[in-house]
């Protein structure tokens, strides 16, 4: 059965596998205590595939899913050195937004938010997207000016953003300290209603289930050890579980993107740094928006379980180490209390780190490389998770048609040779 673009389809068009999830099914299985069928099927590894995607995170799996449903390319393998979503897809703070600074960035992330809005229906998987609104606080005249700029660019591109004052901020987030006596007084904020949080593991699993149902092979615990390039063309990949012949390799890794690209002889303008995050014990719901402060290097949201999730800026030097540091949690706690003094008694449950591939212009690198058949979807810095669906959709189109679609045209690797950088530092994340 042919399905519509991006899997937007009627219920009757669904194939029999996977079994559709529904409330009635949950009730029936609860009564019968039947085991749930696996969400995706493990497959034996073949000698050759039409497309090999390196990286089983949201980017790689989304690309595989959209290759199958939008372009009918199903002879695809997704390889991951660990388990699905073990990298950046499971380590981010799950915030979605599209209030960027450059028109290229706004258009791109707005498409992503729109895909996320339909994702639960398209994938038949509850991704728990909560569009609760996103507040970026301004503590200085300079950042207030940048926010006004961002709001106007957003409005031109049709994205809902507005600069609001302290009174309105207090109404949206009563626990914020808006007194002028604060060390960093809150002068205003960029209010972005479509922003919110999502369950990042569910996004990964939903894409894996959808891709697997279309015939995509998912190979976990399969590390790529080499890429076979001859005559400027990709011939295949070498993995820890054997060789695979393929004409197309997509590098959709985070953290290891320079190492994978290096195997194909492609140098990238990327440095890798850890970014740390932390989560507290659950408390009663009190925070209905996402709070971000660039000056204080912190973003805060409350999950559906009541835990507060904190993220920070990237560590100030390059490293592949994913160990947390006491210094981070100390600094973070100070900054959070600066914003919400009422949280003094809340205890941190755990902290972790993920790897961020930073590019010189704080924008990703997507599209073809000088090696034919070797494509990249890398350099995602601190903003990769929120772009998963749109980059998967665009990279699928890029692979199927052989040329990058307009929405990712500004983000090609060649921009660094041409000096046509996309300056997104003002809005890509908090403090760099």
């Amino acid at each position: 059965v042919r399905v519509g673009t991006n899997g937007h389809r009627q219920r009757s068009a669904r194939s029999s596998y996977p079994a559709k999830y529904s409330a009635a099914g949950l009730f029936r299985r609860g009564l019968a205590s039947q085991p749930w069928p696996p969400a995706w099927q493990p497959q034996p590894m073949k000698d050759s595939y039409d497309v090999v995607i390196v990286g089983g995170g949201v980017h790689g799996l989304a690309a595989a899913y959209y290759l199958a449903v939008n372009h009918g390319i199903t002879d695809v393998a997704v390889l991951d050195q660990g388990y699905l979503g073990s990298g950046g897809s499971g380590r981010n703070t799950a915030i979605l937004r599209s209030n960027y600074l450059t028109p290229e960035g706004v258009r791109f992330y707005d498409r992503s938010v729109k895909l996320y809005q339909r994702l639960a229906t398209d994938l038949d998987y509850n991704v728990m997207f909560s569009q609760r609104g996103h507040l970026t606080l301004a503590h200085s005249d300079a950042s207030l000016r940048t926010m006004r700029w961002r709001a106007e660019v957003n409005k031109v591109e049709g994205v809902d953003s507005e600069v609001i004052g302290p009174a309105e901020i207090k109404r949206l987030a009563p626990f914020l300290d808006i007194s002028p006596a604060a060390r960093f007084p809150i002068l205003g904020a960029l209010w972005h209603p479509p922003g919110g949080i999502i369950r990042h593991d569910a996004v990964v699993w939903g894409y894996a289930r959808g891709a697997s149902a279309q015939g995509v092979h998912i190979h976990q615990n399969t590390e790529v050890t080499g890429i076979d390039v001859a005559g400027g063309r990709v011939r295949g990949v070498t993995t820890s579980r054997g060789d695979i012949a393929t004409p197309v390799v997509l590098n959709a890794t985070a953290g290891w993107c320079t190492l994978i690209s290096c195997m194909a002889g492609v140098a990238l303008p990327v440095t890798t740094s850890p970014l740390q995050a932390a989560v507290t014990e659950p408390v009663k719901p009190f925070l209905s928006t996402v709070i971000v402060s660039g000056t204080l290097h912190v973003y805060i949201s409350q999950t559906d379980r009541g835990e507060l999730v904190f993220g920070a800026s990237v560590d100030p030097f390059t490293s592949y180490s994913m160990r947390g540091s006491l210094e981070f949690i100390e600094g973070l706690a100070g900054h959070v209390l600066e914003l919400m003094p009422a949280l003094t008694k809340v205890r941190v449950l755990r902290q972790w780190a993920g790897l961020c591939d930073m590019t010189p212009d704080f924008s990703p690198i997507m599209g073809h490389t000088p090696v034919e058949g070797f494509l990249v979807d890398v350099g995602w810095g601190t903003y990769g998770f929120k772009a998963g669906p749109v980059s998967g959709e665009a990279m699928a189109q890029c692979i199927a048609s052989g040329k990058p679609p307009e929405i990712i045209a500004p983000f090609g690797l060649e921009r660094f040779g041409e000096g046509a950088l996309v300056g997104e530092k003002g809005a890509a994340a908090v403090g760099h």
């Binding site: 320079t258 440095t271 890798t272 540091s325 660094f416």
Partner: protein
């Protein structure tokens, strides 16, 4: 975070320093092509392993040092004044301050870790 043994001040917290980045040879401005110059500006080896990099002790002696660090374990193998080739004992000043940029004689990133820089730009 990590402790960085400054060549002049001894072990200090890494937050006192600014991480400048990998040591790479700057091409001569007179003969370089725009493509090679942009490669020098943007492309990085970014190895997962030992790397030679420049740090600036901004909250201390305000001098530049060259550090050999393992990027996976953050272990530090040697520290020297930027531009000087031999490691020095912490606490003793070295030769004259080199300019902040890497001198032309400094070896590039080790060949085994440096990716081919040709085809991209």
């Amino acid at each position: 975070m990590i402790l960085l043994p400054c060549a002049w001040c001894g072990p200090r917290d890494a937050t006192e320093f600014a991480h400048i980045g990998e040591v790479s040879a700057r091409p001569g401005p007179d003969e370089v092509t725009p493509g090679r110059w942009r490669g020098y500006l943007y492309l990085r080896a970014n190895p997962c392993g030992w790397t030679r990099e420049t740090w600036y002790h901004r909250m201390g002696c305000r001098r530049f040092i060259t550090v050999e660090r393992h990027t996976l374990t953050n272990e530090i193998r040697s520290v020297s004044a930027a531009g000087a080739m031999t490691p020095q004992a912490p606490g003793r000043p070295g030769a004259e301050d080199p300019p902040p940029a890497v001198p032309p004689g400094a070896p590039p990133a080790r060949p085994s870790e440096a990716p081919a820089r040709g085809p991209v730009i």
